[in-house]
């Protein structure tokens, strides 16, 4: 599928129309019963009417940055009049009464929202199997997971059901599914994109991110989405432009604490060979982040602790489904029993981490660890421009293959440090797969806080360079 710039060039030359683009998208969407990337797809007539309106606007001379471009939205973000289930029975019948700021910005930029994508319940998971409405399949191998929690968004982009998709990334939920589907998945610096209208999971970690097949589309969408928003006090202005510029990256750091013996052999091969490739152009140096290995532990106390608080609002009174019972407190308990097993596990773990007698030993210590990571990345970025890691320790796993929750948590091993340290990070597909039919391997680049544009420009340079080989 073409990138947005190429689509606009073809539209300018009257080689295609947005109506034609939507027809093609609808053809792909009609196969979604095989993938289950979407929980809700908008009516075909409505989508065609939006595409026609985009064509008319173009013919009248309007040039909005995403005019007529089909976009999918993870089903934990509000789109006026569309369901917002978060993959949970507890919000099964909830319809959003307003647009998330990110959604409003996309609509204002001319994008056409095609539907809401599947996810692990409340974005808690790494396989999309925790959705109360059934798992999503990986378009590259339908027996495999597309990753999670933004597995639906990743599958939608990888299969051509949308050009771009929004996901949310609390511990890797955009980058890991991007790695599993051979797409680009970008988590910006904390605060770069407003979370107003994103259903909260762990507020000090949650970020909205972008998935696409082309790095230039990630840059373009980010330029639309970035910006301080009075509705989200954690948001801030971080520079972003619609076009890439020379990144001037010279030194790339490799994390010494990553034990390559614990990588799957295909991941290890891709990682080592990409380091070799990089070292032809850049200075590749070993760096140390001493608390790297403990980051996952910090994440799995901080995120559940915040989730236990954020999810206390689902009492059957304020939102979504209500389970009737004799009295108020019984009704709350019955309603909250609609949460799936993984959500319950994290609420209980979070409640434990915050409970009297354990808060100092668990939650406070996890926050110490987080501060260590911020400090150590700060030190590292005085010597290198970017840090490279594998995105995941393994290639995509089979659906149903991983039974132990802890083994699934380990899929986040390399992605959680960027969330804990508030840093921008992106998954880039390993570009030198010998057999194009092999399952994809993801490479992660992490940049200093606020250098999101430099990171995306660098990825664009790398991708173009690799494609020319």
């Amino acid at each position: 599928m073409d990138d947005v710039k190429t689509i606009f060039s073809k539209r300018e030359a009257n080689e295609i129309t947005f109506t034609h683009l939507m027809e093609e998208t609808l053809k792909e969407l009609s196969h979604d019963d095989e993938l289950h990337a979407f929980l809700f797809i908008r009516n075909a007539d409505e989508l065609m009417a939006d595409a026609k309106a985009a064509d008319n606007a173009w013919d009248e001379g309007q040039r909005k940055p995403l005019l007529g471009i089909p976009i999918a939205i993870k089903d934990n973000m509000c789109v006026t009049g569309l369901p917002c289930t978060c993959g949970s029975k507890i919000l099964e019948h909830f319809v959003a009464p307003y647009d998330a700021t990110a959604v409003k910005k996309l609509k204002d930029a001319g994008a056409i929202i095609v539907g809401k994508t599947n996810l692990d319940e409340f974005a808690m998971g790494s396989s999309s199997e925790n959705s109360a409405f059934g798992p999503t399949r990986n378009p590259l191998d339908k027996t495999c997971s597309p990753g999670g929690s933004s597995g639906g968004s990743a599958a939608a982009v990888a299969s051509g059901m949308s050009l771009l998709a929004l996901g949310s990334d609390t511990g890797g939920s955009v980058r890991q599914p991007a790695a599993f589907t051979g797409t680009f998945g970008f988590k910006p610096s904390y605060g770069a994109i407003s979370r107003y209208g994103l259903v909260a999971f762990a507020s000090s970690l949650d970020q909205i991110g972008v998935l696409a097949k082309h790095p230039e589309d990630v840059i373009l969408a980010s330029s639309v989405l970035f910006g301080q928003d009075p509705m989200d006090s954690t948001s801030r202005d971080i520079p972003m432009a619609p076009q890439p510029e020379a990144s001037n990256v010279k030194r790339v750091g490799i994390v010494k604490e990553i034990d390559s013996n614990m990588l799957d052999k295909d991941v290890k091969h891709a990682y080592d060979s990409f380091i070799n490739y990089l070292s032809r152009t850049y200075e590749v140096v070993e760096i140390s982040i001493p608390h790297w290995e403990e980051a996952l532990a910090a994440y799995y106390f901080i995120a559940p602790a915040e989730a236990s608080s954020n999810l206390s609002r689902y009492d059957g009174v304020r939102y979504g489904t209500t389970m009737e019972a004799e009295n108020y407190s019984e009704s709350i308990r019955k309603t909250r029993n609609l949460f799936g097993e993984e959500v319950k596990r994290r609420i209980l773990l979070g409640s434990f981490a915050l409970s009297a007698g354990y808060k100092d030993a668990l939650y406070e210590k996890a926050n110490y660890l987080r501060q260590w990571l911020v400090f150590e990345f700060d030190q590292v970025f005085q010597n290198v421009d970017m840090v490279l890691t594998p995105t995941t320790p393994t290639p995509p796993f089979k659906l149903g293959e991983i039974k132990d929750p802890l083994d699934l948590y380990k899929a986040d091993l390399f992605t959680t440090p960027a969330n804990l340290a508030y840093l921008p990070a992106i998954n880039m597909p390993y570009p030198f797969q010998e057999n194009k039919k092999d399952l994809p391997i993801g490479l992660q680049f992490i940049a200093p806080f606020g250098e999101d544009h430099k990171l995306l420009s660098f990825i664009n340079e790398l991708w173009q360079g690799a494609e020319e080989l």
Partner: protein
């Protein structure tokens, strides 16, 4: 070092207003203790140095604003005379 006993699990269920279905309690106990055992490494973390990187966000003024669209937010069936209808909160003593 950290261990959740069946009694603590009951207490956590109460705190979180959850009630695990029969059969899930034992599995949950096992899973949670496995997770705690693996991540107990955290208790050895030392006090970090002061960093100059500021990530604190200035909180905006807490100004109550009315939401004009309450019926859409809550669903018409749950409103009665413009007020939210819930089960009795206070029970009469027998």
């Amino acid at each position: 070092m950290f261990n959740i006993s069946p009694e603590i699990l009951k207490h956590l269920e109460e705190l979180a207003q959850l009630e695990l279905p029969e059969g899930l309690e034992e599995k949950m106990l096992q899973d949670l203790n496995h997770i705690l055992g693996t991540f107990q490494i955290i208790s050895r973390v030392e006090v970090p140095p002061e960093t100059t990187t500021a990530f604190s966000s200035p909180l905006r003024e807490d100004e109550p604003k009315s939401f004009e669209n309450a019926s859409q937010l809550l669903g018409q069936s749950r409103l009665q005379d413009g007020l939210l209808k819930v089960k009795p909160v206070l029970e009469e003593e027998d």
